[in-house]
Subunit: 352 residues, 4 copies
């Protein structure tokens, strides 16, 4: 039977990236799967080519409205909707449908943290779509519901987990992450206009208010020894908007434990990611850059020990739309359906 | 008598910015001062217009070689040379010449720190050209030698000094600063090519090796109480190269002292900078962006208390070429010659 | 008496640029003039600093609504409104008020051309604010109403007028002009989002439909000999949107008349602009670039004869917000009030 | 037998793009072909990952020197060398080796035109690697030597050929093409530095001197009726450098023949490219943009008739590194080896 795949939110950047990746996915190329409904809100009725001109093969596909009727009849539904909208849509989809949610709704286990940062009732908790996080992969295999991680938490977690899990640094974490604008979606806000973005770097949501903080705390909290509570992890997180469309470059630091060496640090990362296709510790002397992972599902990492400051610094680069959203979504689909985890996913960036 | 001003390194970005500002300086407009030698190395003999096409009024000025003979006969000499070259040039200039050095050579008081980070013998220590630093302004008035601060130290110092001086945070500092490419100068290096820079964010000199670190430590060390040694200040500093020509957006954090409130923090900045023309604490709710200070001599700051993470975060924006180099150089000239400190300097950015 | 100046549309890019220039204008610095009402539509009631964070000295000024009452009581009113709105506002302002309109409403003499391109009734024709166009300056001196030219017509006209007026080329003109995004204003349209703009060049309004075409035809038509009608001038105009905030780089060509030499061409431009402060024919071998005029009121030109193709090519660079709009508006104000034409206007760009 | 493929010039942008595409090519994925020598000049001895960090799977491959010995023993050799170097290298490769040259050396049939524009002796003429040009595909099938077209000629030819071949316009062509910086290669020149490129548009090689002109003349000359000589085609070509890494947006115009309609024009393109995978005439009302073809092998076209100006305008978008160079090179390889022409080549762009 051909697996029918719907994408809800096909005109957004996350939806577009899911489609871009699926168009090159072996299961769609050989007919095991095919694209069904592509849905949208205000743009329903128009051809996809008006909104995603880079997706040539789908240019003539007509968008339908994001509703229960149009999403019915698919074995797989990707949700690329604004935060808070996935819960209602997902409820209407049968338990046998594989639902991959790119929104935040089902990422957090802590209902109180959800309410504090999102201001609404907690929708629930689904398996967390970061297979490289210890224990996560097994829960994703065959899963019918998956919560794709946020873009910042993906790179922050992969950057710091090995250090914390190996006990090489205290969990008093400071992160400043530079991000391209596509992370904000196709939102018509003045500060996202090209004229405002180009030649400009700006900070936003500073001082502990960014919604990705509880997700980072949750992930890194799980890295600390079993007897340590989440509450022990503190995360200072500052996002910076930079003039580029894609990419996150995260600068992540934590206080080094006494006696830790640079060798200890490299060992921790080499061990943690030895079998991971999509996480690369760069050779010594090379530093991550977002262009090297653009369009790919890879995360590039490098770690340094600043002895004078007594801190571990880990730099991580990710394409926020690919491994940060759409690529992760397809990686989770692969696990959910029992396909090779890397099917349709590339470790090669598009540069320069 | 007309004051003759020479600019050594007139084809570089810092030299160009000094010239741009001087062309609008009242003392040059009304004839109290005039531009003399504009010098360069390999470009000597060619007109300035080939290298700085934006400086229309100077397009036909022929560059001469940076040497003692050409720099002689000026009352003021700006040095905009690569680090390590200012010492020899300055020595040949008489003690009555006002020398404003944009290089690093004379910024550090600690000869050992100099040697550790620059690998050469220490040239000496000149009055430090950050008038907003307590005590610095007096030393600059009438000075014959001035060391203009580095661009990162300027914004990092102004961002954190009030917090530290008021004892509101511990001096365990973590800074990640996003910078435009002009900070690297007109260097012909592959990673500075437009093709590599656009669409790309990259970290460099991570892990305590950036040369601006001892300068930040020196500045912020002076903010701690008198009985505290410099050694108590630790600075983790990570620079990130972003796709823009100008501007630094610095994210600066330190652990808040117990009981500190957001009000305490704002008070400290309002008090520290109440009389400063070129430092602005933004109204609550607005965050610094580099475009707002582009071409201006202003530094924009905002401060936040992250109670959950227990950290103070200060965001600072500066134009690395203006207040970060060329504007600071002219501000120091004004102090050195007894002119109004803000002569020729703007608080208005060029945006969008 | 102090001249009171109002700016209608102060939150837009044109309004912001007018304010940026006025803040450095001698008449405002010495108190002969001062800023009165700054008006807006939906943003009325908020401080200007929320919208124009680069205009530090005006950060606390509260915007008022763009209406007759608020604009009354000023000797000068700048209109920086969407096309089609100036007529009604201007009518309510007394005949003694100097009104400088940055919109298109009063630029065209040909009512039919207006209706064909704008689809509404023609509001009228005011003195055209391009002083460098033969005959235009005199009409602007003391004028109470001025129509500031469009950004594309400014550079296209200055680029081609001397060639046509000297009869060196036939008026069969082909122009492709690359523009930054600020020319589209602060419009919340998807294709103007930073994510869409960066890394992207796109054509728009191709095939004779851009509204600046009749304005270019009108200007260049006046360059042809007295017995030639406008209809003889044909203009093929293609705008291209490029990833930069400011600047227009126009490539303008026309068929060379037989026997014309490169020397003839240079002579024509040198003669035409010998006394013009704001138009520069670059030395041979140097080509215009928008960065060199960024923030300045200058237009840079270069001319070439392509003998094989039999065409004259003129390249022009302008800052669309400065000489292309806000700078031209202030230049016209200076002429209207009898101030030095270049008061407050710079020929120096902000680069890199 | 496994086909061994060498890439000479593997550290450049063209070489990198060839490698990026080959890494996803079915023949390399299934083992029919494999990468052999990757060669360079000054970077020989270093790992490819230092220069092409986006090509993760090849990060550890050590570069060897571009010489006869290292290129021997391969069935396929891609030459991605500076213009003028391919001739000597190619001569040393046996006649059975498939040589795909991305340089200009063998593109022109007219030795005089070569000498006039390149200043050296003509190396010869190889089959021209633009399969979509009538007659070209057959010559490429099984070819042992292929000259890959220049990036500008590719888009200009595809944009104008159908109009000229159908006799809908006179061959008096005016082209202005906006290009990203990667077209200039990884050259260490001041005007290619990120600080100079960003926020800047500039014209260069204006007035009939760009080396791609004779190639465009050659291609479009072949579109005119059999009794028309090349000399009848005139091409005015102006390149404009814009702040983006990849992409060319070409604005191409020619005088419409009397009576030509917009329908005639669309018909000509629909007919010309009906069977072409990599050339897309966009639906009416949509205009090409470079982001839509970034990383893809597609050319997007749109055509308009400007009745008032009497000109046909065709806009074309191409990724200069993909279909403009590296993608075209692989397309030619496919034809040369008898593989499916689109093997390894995508029609899907990477956006936003």
């Amino acid at each position: 039977m051909t697996i029918r795949i719907a994408v809800a939110g096909a005109t957004g950047y996350a939806g577009g990236e899911i489609l871009r990746i699926l168009l090159g996915h072996p299961a769609l190329l050989d007919g095991r799967a095919r694209l069904g409904a592509l849905t949208a809100w205000s743009n329903a009725g128009s051809p996809l080519g008006e909104h995603q001109p880079h997706l040539g093969p789908l240019a003539d596909r007509i968008l339908t409205t994001t509703d229960t009727a149009n999403l019915a009849g698919h074995e797989v539904v990707f949700l690329a909707l604004p935060h808070g909208q996935s819960g209602a849509v997902a409820q209407a989809l049968g338990p046998d449908v594989t639902v991959i949610d790119c929104g935040a709704d089902f990422r957090l286990a802590d209902a109180a943290a959800w309410s504090r940062f999102y201001g609404t009732a907690h929708a629930g908790t689904w398996p967390y779509g970061l297979p490289e996080l210890p224990g996560a992969r097994a829960a994703l295999q065959g899963a019918k519901r998956v919560a794709v991680p946020g873009c910042f938490p993906t790179v922050a977690t992969l950057a710091l987990y090995p250090t914390l899990a190996a006990g090489l640094a205290a969990p008093e974490i400071v992160i400043t992450a530079v991000t391209g604008t596509s992370g904000a979606g196709r939102s018509l806000k003045p500060h996202l206009l090209g004229s405002e973005i180009m030649g400009n770097a700006s900070a936003y949501q500073v001082g502990g208010i960014h919604r990705h903080i509880p997700e980072i705390v949750q992930n890194l909290g799980s890295a600390t020894p079993a007897d340590a509570a989440h509450a022990n992890v503190s995360v200072s997180f500052t996002p910076v908007l930079a003039p580029m469309s894609r990419g996150i470059l995260a600068s992540c630091t934590a206080p080094a434990q006494p006696g830790v060496t640079a060798r200890d640090l490299r060992d921790a990362y080499e061990k943690a990611y030895a079998d991971e296709t999509f996480v690369t510790l760069l050779p010594e002397g090379r530093w991550p850059q977002t262009a090297a992972v653009l369009g790919s599902n890879s995360v590039h990492l490098q770690v340094a020990l600043d002895e004078a400051a007594g801190r571990v610094t880990v730099i991580g680069a990710v394409d926020n739309l690919a491994k940060g959203t759409g690529g992760a979504a397809v990686q989770c689909l692969n696990l959910a359906l029992g396909w090779p985890e890397d099917a349709g996913l590339s470790t090669i960036g598009v540069a320069p």
